[in-house]
Symmetry: C2
């Protein structure tokens, strides 16, 4: 006779063992002071001995709270592949930690899941108490729907101030402005912009790019903006193509992400273009690798730590009956070798 693994204990089992009713057991386990201290202790001890764990499902059903947040990572419908940008991992890690810290679980949804109607799937079905949408996504009407339906949610993205829902994100425009102004300071006059402006965050960065150029008395040329996916690969390809076109007199590149920047840098170096002497480069995000490529990459650092914490705190505030507010996070220019020409 094999020893069968102990069958899962239920509250009713514990109550019976402790010689009390289920209601008393339930209250005792949660240290409800209305229950006699001795009774409480006894029940708790028995529960511990039998490794009793509250059935989260039953509790959720009864209390109508799941203590779970769905995190949805949006990205290009075009490149149907899985999430790939290291930046996402960064912020995801922070969110995960913070949710845990607040006693919430995290339901993660990527790519194909997003075919679903999130509202129905996650909220109406009570799988989650709220949603965090991480979108370098293009404008998505599903977000508007969430808003209209009264679902508690927050978005990581471009806070333009015009959205009827809470958006938390970096000051993309200022970040880009800083980076491009820096490139100009280093003597760049023809600076390409690599990034897909159909994404609202990137659009902001493009505006910042234009701001900096205009401020420096340089007229932005639309031909220097190249729609580029969020991958090193596409950064490489776009740059390679540019080198074969009339854009070969570039002297600077501002990439909408570090991954793109690295791809671009690779293309330049392969063609014998010196970085930063002939072409200076700056990226955006400050992913871990940026400090360790060669030449190391100048970039705009996003405060993912503050961002993740803020996303969580605002969402929980909203869930608890308050209101979530949009917020723009300050960014910081990091100057490294890829853009520094002076010795």
């Amino acid at each position: 006779m094999a020893i069968t693994p102990a069958k899962t204990m239920t509250l009713s089992d514990i109550a019976r063992l402790a010689g009390v009713s289920e209601s008393t057991a339930s209250r005792a386990l949660r240290d409800n002071p209305v229950i006699n201290a001795q009774t409480r202790q006894k029940v708790q001890q028995i529960a511990a001995e039998h490794q009793f764990k509250v059935n989260a499902t039953a509790r959720s059903l009864r209390t109508q709270k799941s203590y779970t947040i769905a995190v949805i990572i949006l990205f290009d419908a075009k490149t149907q592949q899985a999430i790939t940008d290291p930046f996402l991992l960064d912020i995801l890690g922070v969110i995960a930690d913070e949710l845990t810290h607040q006693g919430y679980d995290m339901l993660l949804s990527t790519s194909k899941t997003t075919d679903k109607d999130w509202r129905s799937y996650y909220f109406d079905s009570k799988r989650a108490d709220g949603l965090i949408v991480i979108g370098q996504g293009e404008h998505d009407e599903r977000v508007e729907q969430l808003s209209a339906a009264g679902v508690p949610f927050v978005v990581w993205g471009a806070a333009t101030g015009a959205e009827p829902f809470p958006v938390i994100g970096s000051d993309n425009r200022q970040g880009a402005q800083l980076a491009v102004a820096h490139l100009v300071t280093q003597g760049c006059k023809r600076i390409a912009f690599l990034g897909d402006v159909r994404h609202s965050e990137i659009e902001m960065r493009y505006l910042g790019y234009q701001d900096a150029l205009t401020a420096a008395g340089i007229k932005p040329e639309p031909a220097l903006q190249l729609n580029t996916d969020f991958t090193a690969q596409d950064g490489y390809l776009q740059t390679q193509q540019a080198l074969f076109k009339e854009l070969n007199n570039l002297d600077g590149i501002f990439a909408a992400s570090d991954a793109i920047a690295m791809g671009a840098m690779k293309a330049l170096l392969e063609h014998g273009v010196k970085v930063p002497q002939q072409v200076a480069i700056a990226g955006f995000d400050d992913i871990a690798m940026s400090a360790y490529c060669t030449p190391s990459l100048s970039t705009v650092k996003q405060d993912t730590h503050a961002g993740g914490k803020l996303l969580v705190s605002q969402l929980l505030q909203r869930i608890n009956g308050g209101k979530a507010a949009s917020q723009l996070l300050p960014v910081k220019l990091i100057e490294r070798q890829s853009s520094l020409r002076k010795q």
Copy 2:
């Protein structure tokens, strides 16, 4: 009077609207053929009109299935920071897609969450039907516990064949052997190993490293093995230190991950050491960035796609009463500039 958002519909509401009992409505919604086709259609239509969604919590409670898998990312207790290696993101994305495809949700747990006792927290509490443990972790007694408790789970890690639980992972030993043999072919004689051998996967890679050296008639020197965290930063620091020590006559580096390799490469280049001419480098993982750094990084490609799919399929098989099997995935050497000395 503000229009309140439509209150959530329950099965009972739908049943009433359709003029049938709850049981009939329930069966109709799941297209149970025992229900008259017309009734089914009517119920489904009414449900659709009212955007009815089954309450996942109630269903889980009744059916005793959550259709949720907890994915636990283990990593150094030492570096208490969030997940950071791009490789993790890769495999995580595949797992997420595959789980979705199979109709499961994914509960993600990282860092601090893992303080918890996973078995109680995720399984006993019925939050998840099974677990996927992603461990570049050091040996963890909690995994053994899972095994003993009969919890359905699979591990991504080092399949040595000795574990009493299913482990799926790359053939680390062979991969390292291929990479180091390649370095030897390129003329390297003193090859450092950067990686923390206390992690079982890395230990396998170290064995492969020794295999290749021995096969080439080179005696492995323990002093050339440097415990290194899974970060570019530590790869950089360890290499920098090595350069100041008696290890400065290295002519090759095999790093246990691409991130480490990139850090190492940075340290070398900064010191004016030519890669690959003076020191050739190879890494492990083939993360996206490896092809785009300069010089591009030779590495061992892990088949994350196959790995992720296998983890999911084996786990589900186990959940459905079958047995999950360990499996070793073939790897592939990718030769790039960081190790190729011939023109």
